[in-house]
């Protein structure tokens, strides 16, 4: 019955079903054939390069511990968010049910499969143990975040930032390696997180400036935003690599990663400003008028009434911006940084793997890492959107 209704209702549909059925089967067979017959030695040998680049091999415990701390921070924030959503739902008198284990599995199975695949490609116990500990830490932090008293929940974002700072410190201090020596997917993730965090304050100011009633402030904000949004990221990266030195006083010469980070921050601020502007526009004007009627100062109105509602509404779009920056960080490979895309080229140029057409193995592997990251985040964003009821009021 199901087949009759969904595959063969009319002769036209039957034709489409047959044609695309053949295409689908052919695609699936080719994919499986490729997966089974490929030789993954190149990834097995270079796995550490793909993940942390040239990070000294004696110091690998640092990225491992940093990963545990970072995942704990994410788990904590997720727990707090879940508790907050529950509080809001109960306030409104609607029912609230956390997702069951099976539901989470159905939503995030690609992530789990990828972690499994990466672990299959390693022979040592270090990475396996790290992942196990990191998952356990994330889970405990999630429970902790969920049970945290309201006073702690209020400052959860600060706590998460501190934890990220601790992760950074573990990588860098006392014999560690500064960001100039980072590489692999670690560099991509670092550039994404640091880029968003650094660009957010600037973007917030630009968005408020664009909505300001002062013409001069508005002009400056609009010019900056449109200027940056009108040019491709690669030109800003070239500017960062070749020309940023010219704009700084003599003697200050930042390293390549710092230059790229400056370019990414300036670029991302304009996009975040547009995201925040969308949030600001979603706040009903009656809210502002009501607070004015209560005699609130303009600054207080913005800080206590407009921004909390606006920023809540921007969360899904902000995740989208995060994903798009994550994908864009591959561009740093064009200006000579050792990100994961550069590493895949380096691996293909190793004498043992040279000119064997192994790009068909390394590039899909890199693609898998990006795809899973983006897909997982966009799934969570969609769920968050439903939970927060964004766009429903």
């Amino acid at each position: 019955m199901w087949m009759r209704r969904n595959l063969f209702p009319t002769w036209w549909d039957s034709l489409l079903t047959v044609i695309f059925g053949v295409v689908a089967v052919w695609g699936a067979v080719t994919l499986v054939q490729f997966l089974v017959t490929s030789d993954y030695t190149i990834i097995r040998v270079n796995l550490a390069n793909f993940i942390v680049g040239r990070f000294p091999r004696d110091e690998l415990w640092r990225p491992a511990v940093a990963l545990v701390v970072t995942l704990a921070a994410i788990g904590f924030v997720a727990g707090v968010a879940s508790a907050a959503a529950r509080a809001v739902a109960l306030d409104e008198g609607s029912s609230f049910r956390s997702a069951s284990f099976v539901e989470n599995l159905r939503r995030q199975w690609p992530l789990l499969v990828t972690i499994f695949v990466v672990l299959m490609l390693t022979e040592t116990w270090g990475p396996r143990l790290t992942v196990l500990v990191a998952v356990a830490a994330a889970f405990l932090a999630f429970i902790g975040g969920k049970r945290a008293p309201a006073a702690v929940r209020r400052w959860a974002w600060l706590l998460a930032l501190v934890m990220l700072g601790v992760a950074y410190a573990i990588l860098v201090v006392a014999g560690g390696v500064g960001w100039g020596g980072w590489g692999g997917i670690q560099l991509n993730i670092f550039l994404t997180v640091a880029g968003i965090l650094l660009a957010f304050p600037l973007g917030l100011v630009l968005a408020l400036g664009r909505r300001s009633s002062l013409p001069a402030v508005r002009l400056v904000s609009v010019s900056y935003i449109e200027l940056i949004r009108g040019v491709p990221l690669i030109t800003l990266l070239l500017m960062g690599i070749f020309a940023i030195g010219f704009f700084l006083p003599a003697g200050i010469r930042p390293g390549p990663v710092a230059r790229v980070l400056i370019a990414i921050t300036l670029f991302e601020a304009a996009y975040i400003a547009e995201v925040v502007r969308g949030g600001l526009q979603s706040v009903h004007h009656g809210q502002v008028e009501a607070s004015q009627a209560l005699g609130m100062a303009p600054w207080k109105t913005t800080r206590l009434i407009v921004l909390p509602q606006a920023l809540r509404a921007t969360i899904p779009a902000m995740v989208g911006q995060f994903i798009s920056l994550f994908k864009d960080t591959t561009l740093v490979s064009l200006v000579g940084l050792f990100d994961v895309l550069t590493i895949s080229g380096v691996a293909n140029a190793q004498p043992a793997f040279l000119a064997q057409g192994l790009e068909t193995v390394t590039l899909p592997f890199v693609g898998l890492l990006f795809w899973v990251g983006s897909y997982a985040m966009s799934r969570e964003a969609r769920r968050l959107e439903k939970r927060l009821g964004v766009g429903e009021r």
Binding site: A216, I234, E359, G367
Partner: protein, 392 residues
């Protein structure tokens, strides 16, 4: 209670709390801050350039570029200005070929995702989810290294269907060539198009006056097609299909492009079309179901419902974000540098590598993209104003 009358004679707030004064002061402070930042940057720039002996003017544009640009016929003797012009032309070629392709692919996939046929909608969903979540640069590099470079070498190219000539250096596809009478033909067709506009207006008038079906699309397109067909026959086939021929190693006829061109174009079309497909799907789904139901109640057929009720409204929603995707496509063509295609950015990059001043060249490149983006935004804004529903 103490009520302050808001008439003359009321005490004005002190200067530092007077909103009118504050507004002016804040703006002056903001402008001054921006001015100081710009001045410091400019001061550092000129100082640094002078101390390193780098020129600050744009006179280098007329000097030879001094490097052979790979993937083009620019020798080291060509001026920087001419090389940049070729770069703009190559970027434009990527846009002109890619934009129609990605539109068609995106619209087809977007509609396919809403198909009631299970396998069609699932395949479309898989395509969209796969390409939307991959970095475009990675797709380009894969398309070049894992697809184009694995094609047969130029001395022994493949010729599928005898219509294409494919090697890892260049790909030739069938094209059109203009022969004698070409200009006359286009002139005739252009005149027919103007006349078709008149016919369109006339049919609309008839419809407004009598209420009879106007069939203006049938009338005006039919006129153009009929005139074109007659002119084509009379002028002795002024445009001919040109199928590439292989004579030894020389290729004649057809449209030849570098393998890197096709890698960049194909990868970006696949990537951007997945975004357009999402826009198309979202726009169709955004039409309230009541619209469809009301159309059914008026006894419109499924085709009429789509053609007269859903699509006109969905198009209005879809156009601004789709044009945004077009802009993204054009900006993303700058990634051609990864596979050595001589686009605008790549040529500037090679000129910088050969010792031409970086700040000016990067400014020129940014200015080019900026000009184009602002032009498109202007068009979008005008379009938006015209498309917006007049609501009370």
């Amino acid at each position: 209670m103490d009520v302050t009358p808001s008439t003359v004679g009321a005490t004005r707030p002190p200067l530092w709390r007077d909103l009118r004064v504050l507004r002016v002061v804040i703006q002056i402070v903001a402008l001054a801050a921006v001015g100081i930042v710009l001045y410091v940057l400019w001061f550092n720039l000129t100082n640094n350039l002078r101390s390193q002996g780098i020129r600050t003017d744009f006179g280098f544009l007329d000097q030879p570029i001094g490097v052979n640009i790979a993937g083009s016929n620019i020798g080291s003797g060509a001026t920087v200005r001419r090389a940049l012009g070729v770069g703009i032309r190559n970027t434009a070629a990527l846009a002109v070929v890619g934009l129609p392709l990605l539109t068609v692919l995106g619209v087809v996939v977007g509609i396919a995702r809403l198909s009631t046929n299970w396998i069609v909608s699932k395949l479309a969903a898989v395509y969209v989810e796969v390409f939307r979540n991959l970095p475009p640069l990675l797709i380009i590099v894969f398309g070049f290294r894992a697809v184009v470079l694995r094609l047969p070498p130029p001395r022994d190219p493949a010729t599928p269907f005898d219509l294409f000539i494919v090697s890892n250096l260049s790909i030739t596809v069938p094209g059109f060539t203009a022969v004698e009478g070409f200009a006359t033909f286009w002139l005739t067709v252009a005149l027919a198009a103007v006349a078709a506009g008149g016919v369109w207006w006339w049919r609309t008038r008839v419809f407004d006056r009598t209420g009879k079906p106007h069939h203006r699309i049938l009338w005006s397109v039919g006129l153009v097609v009929a005139v074109a067909a007659v002119a084509y026959a009379i002028l002795g086939r002024p445009i001919r299909l040109s199928i590439p021929q292989l004579n030894g190693r020389a290729i004649s006829g057809g449209f030849t492009g570098f393998g890197s061109f096709f890698a960049v174009m194909g990868a970006l079309v696949l990537y951007q079309a997945s975004h357009v497909a999402e826009i198309v799907r979202g726009s169709i789904q955004a039409i309230p179901r009541g619209q469809n139901e009301a159309a059914s109640a008026l006894a419109l057929s499924p085709f009429q419902r789509m053609r007269h009720v859903v699509l006109p409204q969905a198009t209005r929603i879809a156009i601004p974000p789709t044009i945004n995707q077009y802009l993204n496509y054009v900006k993303n063509t700058s990634l051609a540098i990864a596979v050595g295609f001589a686009d605008y950015v790549n040529i500037a990059f090679q000129a910088i590598g050969n010792g031409q001043p970086a700040p000016q060249l990067i400014l020129i490149v940014m200015g080019g993209y900026l000009f184009f983006s602002l032009l498109i935004s202007l068009v979008v804004n005008i379009l938006n104003r015209r498309l917006q529903l007049v609501t009370r």
